[in-house]
């Protein structure tokens, strides 16, 4: 990091560095071209500078803590060594105590043996001697005990000093731990604040990705630092635990040493016999055993503690995993709920679509139907647009026609007026002509009267004056006739003009009629188009309604109670119908049976009567026919048998007088005519057959001739 300000060469503390950065006096060195503008660069620099600073401070602090921890570990190891030494010393004292005990045992054995071997005196002397011997041994033991006591005192002192050191170390560790935790919290708070600033910067600036990546790396580094810190904390806790245990051990050892000391003091001060010392030794031994047991239990506890720590970590991990699994389970259950909701929606949509488009309709079919409907709607709108355009065109043409009609009617009116004027002028001319004619007639009369007057006056004057006046009147008459001719010509001209106008008027009237017919045809087509337009608008409105309905249905859900009055009414109706059907069926069955039986009985009766009648008729017919056959045979001499072959009726005639049965004639009868069928018997009378049947076309004569021939033969023979 580039340092500006301050004394060059002097290392700055972390706090000072931080202050310098916040004051803007320090910026980290950056690669060129990383940022677009100076503001972003400055902001980035400040925030990341601060972050880098904090990170480095944290790293330095953690390294310092690591050093301290190492030192304390060293101290711990030394303490452990000392503890091991103490243990070895304890073992040695134990061995010594064992030796003392052995000596005591040997002494006691000797005394016993001496007492057993000697008398009371010897026992007393031996006792005194033993006492002196024992006193000597006791003094040696006492000296040993004193030496041990001194050693134990030294040991206790050293232990006390070590315990004090350990306590100091523990206190310093705790203080350092607290400061570390505080610094860590502050660092974490600053890091989080920086993170928030970084996040806001990232949102505002274009260097978002770079900031995120760098923040991610920082976070990773922070995580690593935190992990290292947690590990150090764990080690610290372990060390503290071990220190606690050692302290306890030391305290126990101190207590044991104090007890031993007290005991030794008691042993040295008092003139107790060996048994008291032995008891003390036993007690010491017990205490040693208990201490050993405690040490082993402490070791086991330490092992358990370590295992519990490990187990705690594992438990924490397992709890975290369980929490994650619960979260995943919750999300899975939420998604399952969502899927069930989606499935129910889908099912309802399927039922609606099935009711609308058929149960076998697939979504593709539904889409097709919808697209078909849309296409039909588009087609209908197109057709409606076309019909609208056509109707507009028709309206325009109708308007044009109406205008033409108006103009034609106006022309017609003007022509009528013109014709009327012409008629009026013609009448005027006629009147003029009549007036002129009248005038002419009047003038002629006047001239005639003048001529008469002149003639009446002339005989007196002579013939010359009569020629002059006659010439004038002739001239006047000529003039008047010319005038008349002119008038006539004018009248003829006017008439011709009138005629032409009348023809023109007729043509215009015809044109008017044709225009009117066209206008009527256009009106009819317009009305048809309008009716079609109305129909199309109706259809469009219906399809628009259907589309609106579809749109409304698409965004809504339509519900009704399953048990509703309509359904109930329908069910009742159906039940009523079913009941009615069943009653009708029963009545039908009953009546049907009765009716059938009655009809069967009736029919059976009819059948019996008819069969009886038939049999009677048959028998009667048989009697009559046999009677008829016999009568014919006896009257006509032929036994006639009738047969039917291939729809052809045949009659076999056997003559009376012939003896053989094989002699018979056969006639076939068809549509009123009988014809002989050739047989052997007929061939014997071919001549008669040809004569009577072939030539004369008569079978009765043939049969009569044959009868006579047979009779003659019979009588002759």
């Amino acid at each position: 990091m580039e340092v500006r300000g301050g004394r060059e060469g002097t290392p700055l503390s972390a706090a000072l560095k931080r202050r310098r950065v916040s004051e803007g006096l320090m910026t980290p060195a950056l690669a060129e071209g990383e940022f677009v503008n100076a503001e972003d660069q400055e902001v980035y620099v400040n925030t990341y500078g601060r972050a880098n600073l904090l990170r480095r401070e944290y790293v330095e602090a953690s390294e310092a803590k690591d050093v301290v921890i190492e030192e304390q570990r060293g101290e711990l190891s030394s303490l452990r060594q000392r503890v091991s030494i103490l243990e070895s010393e304890k073992a040695s004292t134990k061995a010594k105590l064992m030796a003392l005990e052995q000596a005591r045992q040997t002494k006691s054995l000797r005394e016993r043996t001496e007492s057993e071997l000697g008398g009371s005196d010897g026992a007393g002397r031996s006792k005194v001697g033993d006492g002196s011997d024992s006193r000597g041994s006791d003094s040696a033991a006492l000296e040993l005990a004193r030496e041990q006591q001194a050693k134990l005192r030294l040991l206790v002192d050293s232990k006390i000093s070590r315990i004090a050191d350990l306590e100091e170390a523990v206190a310093t560790l705790e203080r350092s731990k607290e400061t570390e935790a505080a610094e860590k919290k502050a660092a974490v708070g600053e890091v989080e604040r920086l993170k928030a600033e970084i996040v806001t910067l990232v949102m505002d600036s274009e260097g978002k990705r770079l900031a995120e990546s760098r923040a991610a790396t920082l976070e990773v580094h922070l995580k690593e630092v935190r992990a290292a810190q947690s590990q150090t904390e764990v080690r610290l806790a372990e060390a503290l635990g071990e220190v606690e245990v050692e302290r306890k051990k030391a305290l126990d050892a101190e207590k044991a040493a104090l007890n031993l000391q007290r005991k030794l003091v008691d042993a040295s001060s008092s003139a107790e016999p060996v048994t008291g010392l032995e008891l003390q030794v036993e007690q010491l031994e017990k205490e040693l055993k208990s201490q050993v047991a405690e040490i082993s239990s402490a070791r086991a506890l330490r092992g358990k503690l370590e295992s519990t720590e490990v187990l705690k970590e594992k438990l924490a991990q397992a709890v975290a995993r369980a929490a994650r699994a619960e979260g995943a389970l919750a999300s899975a259950s939420a998604s399952h709920v969502e899927t069930t909701v989606d499935q129910s929606d889908l099912q309802s949509w399927k039922t609606v679509m099935g009711e609308k488009f058929g149960q076998d309709a697939s979504p593709y079919d539904v889409l097709q139907n919808v697209s078909k409907l849309e296409k039909s709607v588009l087609q209908l709108t197109e057709e409606c647009g076309r019909t609208k355009a056509e109707s507009k065109q028709a309206l325009r043409s109708r308007e044009d026609l109406e205008r033409n009609c108006k103009s034609l009617s106006e022309e017609k009116e003007s022509l009528k007026e013109h014709i009327n004027e012409m008629k009026i002028t013609a009448l005027r001319h006629d009147r003029k002509i009549s007036l002129l004619q009248k005038e002419r007639d009047g003038l002629k009369r006047i001239i005639a009267s003048y001529d008469e007057e002149e003639l009446s006056l002339r005989p007196a004057d002579g013939a010359g004056a009569a020629d002059g006046t006659g010439h004038n009147s002739a001239l006047r008459v000529k003039e008047l006739e010319e005038l008349l001719q002119l008038q006539k010509a004018q009248a003829a001209k006017h008439e011709a003009e009138l005629q032409a106008m009348a023809e023109k008027c007729e043509d215009l009237m015809n044109q008017n009629e044709s225009h009117r017919a066209e206008a009527r045809a256009m009106k009819d087509s317009l009305s048809a188009l309008e009716s079609e337009k109305v129909m199309m608008t109706r259809e469009l409105a219906v399809t628009g309604q259907e589309l609106n309905h579809l749109k409304a249905e698409h965004n809504s859900r339509i519900l009704h109670l399953a048990s509703n009055p309509e359904e109930k009414a329908r069910r009742d109706h159906v039940n009523g119908l079913v009941a009615e059907i069943s009653t009708l069926k029963e009545t039908l069955q009953k009546s049907g049976r009765d009716v059938a039986e009655a009809t069967v009985a009736g029919l059976q009766k009819q059948l019996d009567s008819l069969s009886k009648r038939e049999s009677r008729l048959k028998s009667a017919f048989q009697e009559r026919i046999s009677l008829f056959i016999d009568a014919c045979y006896s009257i006509f001499g032929y036994r006639i048998d009738m047969t039917t072959e291939n729809k052809m009726t045949k009659f076999i005639l056997r003559p009376m007088h012939e003896e053989k049965e094989s002699l018979y004639l056969t006639f076939k009868y068809d549509s009123g005519a009988a014809e002989l069928v050739p047989t052997e018997y007929s061939e014997t009378m071919q001549r008669e057959v040809d004569t009577f049947i072939g030539r004369y076309k008569t079978i009765p004569a043939f049969t009569a001739n044959l009868t006579m021939d047979i009779f003659n033969k019979q009588t002759q023979c």
Binding site: R557, H560, H573
Partner: protein
Amino acid sequence: MAPNIEGAGLCGGGTATQNRISLKGSVKIVTEFFNYAVNSILYQRGIYAPEDFKRTKKYGLSMMVTSDEGLTKYLSRVLTQISGWLAEGKLEKLVLVIASVHTNEVLERWAFDIETEQDVVEGKKSVEKPEKEIMSEIQAIIRQITASVTFLPLLSDPCAFDLLVYTKKDTSAPQEWEDSDPRYIINSESVKLRSFTTKVHKVDTMVSYKLLDE
């Protein structure tokens, strides 16, 4: 089912606060209107025999309300659920469908469209409207329903009715409710009647009937 606006929606004291309509009060008014409107339609159109109805006073008019127990139960079930959906702002439309029992063909369709002021439902704002104004609007609609017999075709076949409820897509319904199709009328004519509003809910009324074959 008298509209207890004072109990449901009003705060006491002062003319301005007496006109304040709460969501609960509006729901009650609209539900009551549906009850009386449905009964009126069933009586006027002869879906049930006149002797199955009893007279009662409401909206300043003499109204006919069914005395049939089964029908009353059905209406109360439907209207209870409707009031719940109204309070949630999920109800969009109520449709009374009259169909022939024999042919199952829909002959008439009375549609009540509902527009809800979502801000009031969410509690973001409150509205005011005089009670008399609401009642007079409802009265006008009831009169129109009574007068509609003059232009509606005669229902000669025996008919039955059903109530369809249009709700939002995401509405959950109890098990006794099932989905239905809209039961539109083919070849119909529609007549729009009056509407009324409580400022929380606006109700538009329309009747569609089948055109007779000429």
